[in-house]
């Protein structure tokens, strides 16, 4: 399971700070979150995403692989752009 933490306006909008979700990579994870909270996928893809403390733009972007117990932090854009 991947530990997902939400920050910024996204967290206020979905009224949730933490989830545990099963996903192989960031893209899949974002898709699951989009469906779960009925969020526009394109807007959600504009979030700032950190995997185990590293920005996905320094890793493999949305193709970054995820492994059991990884921690993903998702920030609304602007909070951390």
């Amino acid at each position: 399971m991947i530990k997902v933490r939400y920050f910024g306006i996204l967290r206020l909008d979905i009224k949730k700070s933490f989830d545990e979700i099963e996903a192989q990579d960031v893209e899949v994870l974002i898709n699951i979150i989009s469906s779960k909270y009925n969020l526009d996928i394109d807007e959600l893809k504009n979030s700032i995403v950190f995997v185990n403390g590293k920005n996905i733009n320094e890793l493999k972007g949305f193709k970054t692989k995820l492994y059991d117990c990884d921690e993903v932090q998702i920030f609304s854009p602007v909070a951390g752009g």
Partner: protein, 633 residues
């Protein structure tokens, strides 16, 4: 002294407290063109009136309160005014841009500014109206806290007040206008030393503007821009400045355990998100401000101002406290005592580290929170260890040692950004005219992680961008605007599409932008005779004052101001060795595995001085000063 320009009353009040006499301080239209108002106008007044021997806590020091031409004209986010003086904490010039309504009321009373010198023998409060200036005995209000003092004067007037910390000359006491503080570097101590408990302004004077119709349309458009911008329209109204704490932690730039680390394990418990979820009642802001970044929370059954980002960081992560409830309470207590939460937070964190290392048995410990509130009270009333803590971090390091981790620059405690995670911000702290201030330092952390994510560790282009931001923010502040209005300078697209190819290319460009930025930084203003729509201040100044105005003139006003403030400090004896940071930040890696996690201060300074036209001692060249007409002429 009358003026041909709109936006000004044309009069500056001078008060000699020792003689209890008032005069008009001469300030000409030529000076208005060069120095505009606010902190730059104040820098000119200080440069002309203080010398190398003037003691901050002496009758000879000047307390200068100035508005900008946009203040009181209905400009969005522009109810601001400025307080400058020689700081008892740094012994140098300090300036504090403050919100609340005092600036607007001062103009209603018919004045653009107040210049105060001398010292009253007894505590007084000063009443300034459009008819007269009166000195009143303050015996009935001396000793009162901030809100009690404000209540004494009722509504429909601007109130500038100090609390017990200012009365007892705590070196980082603040001055309050409504719930907003001229917080930093001890302006409240100077007011307290001069025995002024409060200044109250009221009147019916109106401010004329040059082109009312064009201004009305511009302001409408400016408000729209602020409301549509992702930072000023969404982030700040929804989460306030507090909303930046989580991302600072993710980017390793959240000062933790007296700046030993850049991340705090319990950051979520003191975050803006948690504040919004558990404690926020509503948001609030200054008059004429569409941003409404203030947080309203409840303490003792009263609705009061909630903590800002700096307070959350420095009374949370930096002392390893994870109780947001306590931070909210301490924020209220510190405001009521009239004390800067930033310097108070950094000073107690330093004391905790001194205690931990066996250098000062003061009873303060990281993570121990039961004695903090009493410590703040003791600081304000200078009791016990509070009497020493009231002197600030640098003074404590001289008493007990630990200079290498006494988190100040030029005597002013650093803000909550750990600069080893944002080296441009580190440069800003080191060269800032008022000491370790994030805003006066250029606030490069906005590009290095808060809003955009340019490479936070590279030295490339950091000096150039710092100078550009310092100059533009200096000019915006002098207009009477909140510094948040300069966020419009950052393109919306880049903020809203952080993962796009275009944003990545733009960030690469930003990293390599120094040759282009330095064209702006070094060429005279006459080469930039155009408007920049992202800076509505340009056209606002033109329509309010009737002065010729364009980007070149505005950026040169900012550069002139920054250099003039520097020259005040040069007069006070600073040089390149003072533009530095505590050793921890420049010689110890934040993360021993990451050799970039350190502030390469000497390299950054070298670039900075060269672009500024300063010599290796950090002294502005005669050529640059002459070109800028920094001293007038």
């Amino acid at each position: 002294m009358a003026t041909i320009y709109g936006g000004y009353t044309g009069r500056v009040l001078k008060i000699d407290l020792s003689l209890k006499k008032v005069y008009e301080y001469p300030f000409s239209d030529k000076e208005r063109e060069l120095y505009i108002g606010g902190k730059i106008m104040a820098a000119k007044i200080l440069y002309d009136n203080i010398n190398e021997k003037t003691e901050p806590l002496s009758p000879d020091n000047y307390l200068v309160i100035t508005t900008g031409p946009l203040t009181g004209t209905g400009a969005p986010s522009s109810s601001r005014f400025n307080i400058s003086t020689l700081s008892p904490l740094t012994n140098l010039l300090t300036s504090s841009n403050c919100g609340g309504s005092f600036g607007i009321y001062l103009k209603k009373a018919g004045y653009d500014g107040i210049v105060i010198t001398g010292r009253s023998e007894n505590p007084i409060w000063i009443e300034i109206t459009d008819k007269e200036v009166q000195f009143h005995d303050a015996k009935d209000i001396w000793g009162l806290k901030i809100s009690e003092t404000q209540s004494f004067f009722g509504d429909k007037c601007g109130k500038l007040v100090i609390g017990p910390a200012g009365e007892n000359i705590v070196k980082y006491a603040s001055i309050f206008s409504d719930e907003r503080a001229a917080g930093r570097a001890g302006v409240g101590a100077v007011m307290g030393y001069k025995n002024i408990k409060a200044i109250v302004a009221r009147g019916n004077n109106t401010v004329n503007v040059h082109d009312k119709e064009k201004l009305k349309n511009l302001y409408k458009d400016w408000v729209k821009k602020l409301k549509n911008h992702p930072i000023t329209g969404k982030q700040l109204p929804r989460l306030g400045t507090a909303g930046l704490l989580s991302v600072m932690n993710a980017r390793k730039m959240l000062a933790t355990r007296n700046f030993k680390y850049g991340q705090y394990k319990d950051f979520e418990k003191v975050s803006g998100e948690y504040l919004a979820e558990k404690y926020l009642i509503k948001n609030k802001g200054c008059i004429t401000c569409p941003i409404q970044c203030g947080r309203v929370v409840e303490v003792e059954g009263k609705q009061v101002k909630g903590p800002e980002l700096e307070t959350l960081g420095l009374l949370g992560a930096n002392i390893e406290n994870s109780s947001l409830e306590h931070i909210i309470r301490w924020n209220y207590v510190l405001d009521e005592l009239g004390m800067d939460t930033v310097s108070a937070g950094v000073t107690i964190a330093f004391a905790m580290e001194l205690n931990e290392r066996g250098l000062w048995d003061c009873g303060l410990e990281f993570g121990k929170i039961d004695n903090i509130e009493k410590t703040f009270e003791d600081i304000a009333y200078r009791k016990g260890i509070g009497n020493l803590l009231a002197e600030g971090t640098r003074a404590l390091s001289k008493m007990f040692g630990g200079e290498e981790y006494a988190m100040n620059s030029k005597g002013l405690e650093l803000a909550a950004y750990e600069p080893r995670g944002a080296v441009g911000q580190g440069l800003g702290y080191a060269v800032s005219n008022r000491g370790g201030c994030h805003l006066n330092g250029g606030y490069l952390v906005v590009l290095e992680g808060l809003a955009l994510s340019m490479d936070a560790y590279t030295k490339k282009s950091k000096a150039a961008l710092t100078i550009l931001f310092q100059n533009l923010m200096e000019a915006a502040s002098a207009c009477g605007s909140c510094l948040f209005t300069t966020y419009l300078f950052i393109p919306k697209y880049l903020l809203e599409h952080p993962n796009s190819f275009l944003t990545k290319v733009s960030l690469w460009f930003l990293k390599n932008s120094s040759p282009f930025v330095n064209i702006i930084n070094t060429l005279p203003g006459k080469f930039f005779k155009f408007n920049v729509s992202r800076l509505p201040h340009i056209r606002a100044l033109k329509y309010v004052t009737g002065m010729n105005m364009n980007f070149g003139i505005l950026k040169e006003i900012g550069e002139r101001g920054y250099n003039l403030e520097r020259m005040v400090n040069i007069k006070r004896g600073i040089n390149a060795k003072d533009d530095t940071l505590p050793k921890r930040l420049i010689s110890e890696y934040q993360d021993s595995r990451d050799k970039r996690s350190i502030v390469p201060i000497e390299d950054l300074k070298k670039d900075y001085y060269k672009i500024r036209g300063w010599d290796k001692n950090g002294i502005p060249s005669q050529k640059r000063i002459k070109r800028l007409r920094a001293f007038g002429g």
